[in-house]
Symmetry: C2
Subunit: 584 residues, 2 copies
């Protein structure tokens, strides 16, 4: 038996008990005649004491030889500390060691195993097993476990069945981002790793499984943005005999459950907003609604004066920044520089100071009098003390720029609070999205999403105007999930493929099995998927999903700890009937 207790549980009620503990030496303070060592395990830290008077000499010697991260087993007596530490549960006691065994030694770790470490990201990734010993990382992993438990609990209680779908599936030419897997038994043929279990969950609905879910890994071989991973985890769900309303209600319930159980937060309202409204009010299909700063469109009051910049613009739009009327000229110039950065791309910014005394002062006083500016204040909802920031130009671009400015200012002003949660359904997404480069439309969600009833005819005349039965769940300005009501009719699915530019042959080669399945009594169905990595990070009040993944990959898709991917043997390639195109 390696331990009678863990390192996080002993307290004053255990005084005089003989205990056995195992763990890592976190810290040693050697005062010569007395030595203290902090012993750490998953559950906490317990202080050990060795002293010349009470501790046998050979144990004293061993204690003197202890290094950081040595693994030791000790037996000793729980005694009261003279100098107590109120910050930890075991802070009232220490253990007077009567026996010690070094279970394993340790080299000096390449960074300190403390909440605030001196190690940079790269070194911590290479020695991730040491990083996991640190409280923040360990707690994140335990937190993730708890979220997954509550997800499974809620959905199971709602009658959902977790069904495992295959990882070795069919590669589709459309799947430019598929990871492929050569098969040894079927020479020259490849599986693909799923980007999502989409078609399988639909087949489960055709199979009558009714309410399906799965917490499942998905894979995407694409250039990684800062916070993406080639493998990521989804909470994947599907229901049959449901309308959009049924699905939103179930997953509103799940989200409320998680916020309640995990964060102790009761959400008052769970608003819904159309995609069009979200774009108009926030310039963004995943608005953070924890704070106001809604867009005010100023075309009607700002155009047809003598300010050419606005007159030429498709859209003139502003936000009221709370309490920012006191910004200095220098601060405002810095803000203008910020919106002009290539990442934002605005040409410039007009501002109005709505001073605390009610006076209005703008950068365009030449063109607008205070009556005009008072109109602007009214439309943007500005109050005395606010700063109104106005951008103009092409409607879509200007909205995106103003959205970026809104988020930046909210962050600077501390309005994006980690422990405040404001979920939002964004609904009525467009069915199709125009690829500006190719001029072709492609599915905004995926090709199985159904259009709103009665809008099918629009596909021929005005494809961009067709709305879908598609919805996203947004939490604090992050999309944490999305889904749709699916097409369940073979003919409509064929029509959709046609509009997406698939030839009948291509559609058949890729999705023939699904269209075939639809011929045998497919029920109406729909579903959604939540990104677990992102959800956990947001619930944890943090930004970076990597901090909630045990063994993440870096931005090049590499696992630097195990050094993968890596070249493989010529022999192994040959067995797969493959060779490298260009030897590297």
């Amino acid at each position: 038996m390696y331990r009678s207790h863990n390192c996080g549980e002993l307290n004053l009620s255990d005084i005089n008990k003989e205990v056995t503990l195992s763990g890592w030496v976190a810290k040693v303070r050697d005062k010569g005649f007395v030595i203290w060592a902090d012993l750490r395990d998953r559950y906490g830290i317990t202080q050990l004491i060795f002293d010349e008077e009470r501790t046998p000499k050979e144990i004293m010697e061993t204690a003197k030889g202890l290094g950081r991260e040595f693994v030791v087993q000790i037996t000793g007596t729980v005694i009261e500390r003279t100098s107590k530490n109120p910050n930890i549960p075991t802070g009232q006691i220490e253990v007077l060691v009567t026996a010690i065994k070094v279970l394993n030694q340790s080299l000096v770790p390449p960074f300190t195993i403390e909440d605030q470490t001196d190690g940079g990201e790269d070194i911590r990734m290479k020695y991730r097993y040491l990083d996991i010993r640190r409280n923040p990382v360990k707690e994140n992993l335990i937190f993730r476990h708890k979220v997954a438990i509550e997800v499974r609990k809620y959905l199971s209680d709602e009658g959902f069945i977790e069904v495992e779908t295959p990882y070795l599936i069919k590669s589709t030419p459309e799947g430019a981002r598929d990871f492929v897997v050569p098969s040894r038994m079927n020479e020259g043929q490849f599986y693909a790793l799923p980007q999502s279990p989409q078609t399988f969950k639909q087949l489960l609905m055709v199979g009558g499984m009714d309410k399906y879910f799965q917490i499942v890994k998905c894979f995407r071989d694409e250039d990684l943005r800062a916070d993406r991973q080639p493998e990521f985890t989804q909470i994947d769900c599907e229901m049959a005999f449901v309308e959009q309303e049924d699905i939103l209600n179930v997953f509103e319930g799940l989200t409320r459950h998680l916020l309640q159980e995990i964060k102790g937060v009761t959400v008052d309202s769970f608003p819904r907003m159309t995609y069009d409204d979200a774009m108009k009010k926030y310039g963004n299909d995943k608005p953070d609604i924890r704070f106001g700063m809604e867009f005010g469109e100023l075309n009607a009051v700002a155009q047809h004066k003598e300010f050419g910049v606005f007159n030429d613009a498709e859209l003139v739009v502003g936000i009221a920044v709370p309490g920012a009327a006191t910004y200095t000229r220098k601060e405002i110039d810095a803000l203008i520089d910020w919106v002009r950065r290539p990442q934002v791309g605005a040409k410039g910014m007009v501002y109005v100071k709505y001073n605390a005394d009610g006076s209005l002062k703008s950068s365009v006083d030449k063109f607008y009098d205070s009556n005009d500016l008072a109109e602007w204040a009214k439309i943007t909802g500005a109050k005395p003390g606010d700063l109104i920031c106005v951008l103009s130009g092409d409607a879509n671009k200007t909205r995106t720029q103003l959205s970026a400015l809104r988020m930046e200012l909210a962050t600077r002003l501390g309005l994006r609070k980690n422990n405040e949660f404001a979920p939002l359904w964004v609904i009525d997404f467009p069915l199709l999205e125009l690829d500006e480069e190719t001029g072709h439309y492609h599915a905004m969600h995926h090709p199985f999403t159904s259009p709103k009833p009665g809008q099918l005819a629009l596909l021929d005349t005005d494809p961009g105007a067709v709305k879908a039965n598609a919805y996203d769940l947004v939490l604090n300005g992050n999309e944490i999930g999305g889904g749709s009501i699916r097409i369940h009719d073979t003919d409509m699915q064929a029509t959709m493929f046609k509009h997406l530019g698939f030839s009948p042959e291509e559609a058949k080669a890729q999705f023939g099995f699904l269209m075939e399945a639809f011929k045998y009594g497919a029920p109406p169905h729909g579903g959604l998927a939540f990104g677990l990595d992102r959800l956990v990070a947001i619930l944890g009040g943090q930004e970076t999903i990597r901090d909630f993944i045990a063994f993440p990959k870096n931005n090049s898709g590499r696992d630097v700890m195990i050094d993968a991917p890596s070249p493989i043997d010529e022999e192994q390639l040959k067995e797969l009937n493959l060779k490298l195109n260009i030897s590297l």
Copy 2:
């Protein structure tokens, strides 16, 4: 809203209620003036009734057009049936339909959607989504879900944390059975899919995670035996600061919990048997101990007489087959033919009838008198009425042959009862296994398994005799899991790799990251993995794991429903810097 109730819940207490149901038309009986239809969903079957007197004409017309597996939504009134069906929960009522909507039509399904179907395995696999509509398959998937829930519940309550480990890991030359995954971002380099998360769970122990589990997919690209899958699911576990005893206790607890919660079975005893004893008593490292028929070794009493076959044999060993003394000559000849089949491989079989009257009659009466045979009966534990079957020859081979005979006879005699559960730990496995072809030893479990304390020296002198801290859990003659106490010391791990024929360079290239990790305070640790597919099948009282997998692959590793694997585009190959070695 598609339904107010499901098809499994209405009964006499709902009489006169107006209800809305959705589901599949399972059966239609059209008597002209009255039509009955069975409506089926995941929850059951409800009988619908349409009749000329009470049902509007156009609804009658629709009812007449209903085909099998049409998807319909109906509204109607719950009424009492005249002819009740006591076999189903809804058998007391039927629904008089007042409105009907055909939600989707169906072609005639290629096999009947009934508990006993007319479809063969191949066609059911191709249309797996229809197969899943059948009760037995649907119930198996729901059963699997329940098992997974109980596994997670038990382990979480025991303080285990489910941690997701990566799927895109490092390919190792040793991993001849690795599926590899070419990386687009890292040209010419490959990931591998994990055969198990072995090294990651060990790194989690080094990371202080203490008690880890995961229900996780694993992958093996090898020739598939009848009941193997290229992707399979493991309950994977690891613990730190534990000895073998601690691990056995936890997973005995898990197994008891599952049998209790899932099957309502309380297991009395949970015996442990050494590998050597299992081989000696049952000729098998996964003995089915639900019935006796233990091996009796007869060398001492059967050799040194005049029967040359026995005298030349390394081992003479028999079993008592209960109640089989009445076998006819013909039946016994058939049994002899059975053991002579190439799959079993015995040269012949000696038998003794221990007749009900106490007399003994054998096929070797020429060499043995009844005193001799009485000795055999005593050693094999035969009672009057039993048949003693004796095989002889090379010890290992003979044991394997007699084990096959024992299992066959137990099956024939109905001794292997689906709803009787007898778990068993087999412990003290050999560390190494001799590959008879190459003459080299390889790790019986895996290279991270630790030898029994004090046996390291034997590695040089008698490698085959070294026992490991390794154990298997056997249930009803099936290995459902296994594990070991791991090596946690860099030097011992290096020694082990050396004995397994790795050069230091090979060991470093493949497992350098693990050996490096061991230098930073690796705790003593160990664990095990259960095969979930097999476990679920056995708990379900069935043999075939495929019946408990939603979308299984066939013996060639193909998914015949989606037709995977399949060739991929030249373009896609090129992007991966690959080409086919030989065009196919």
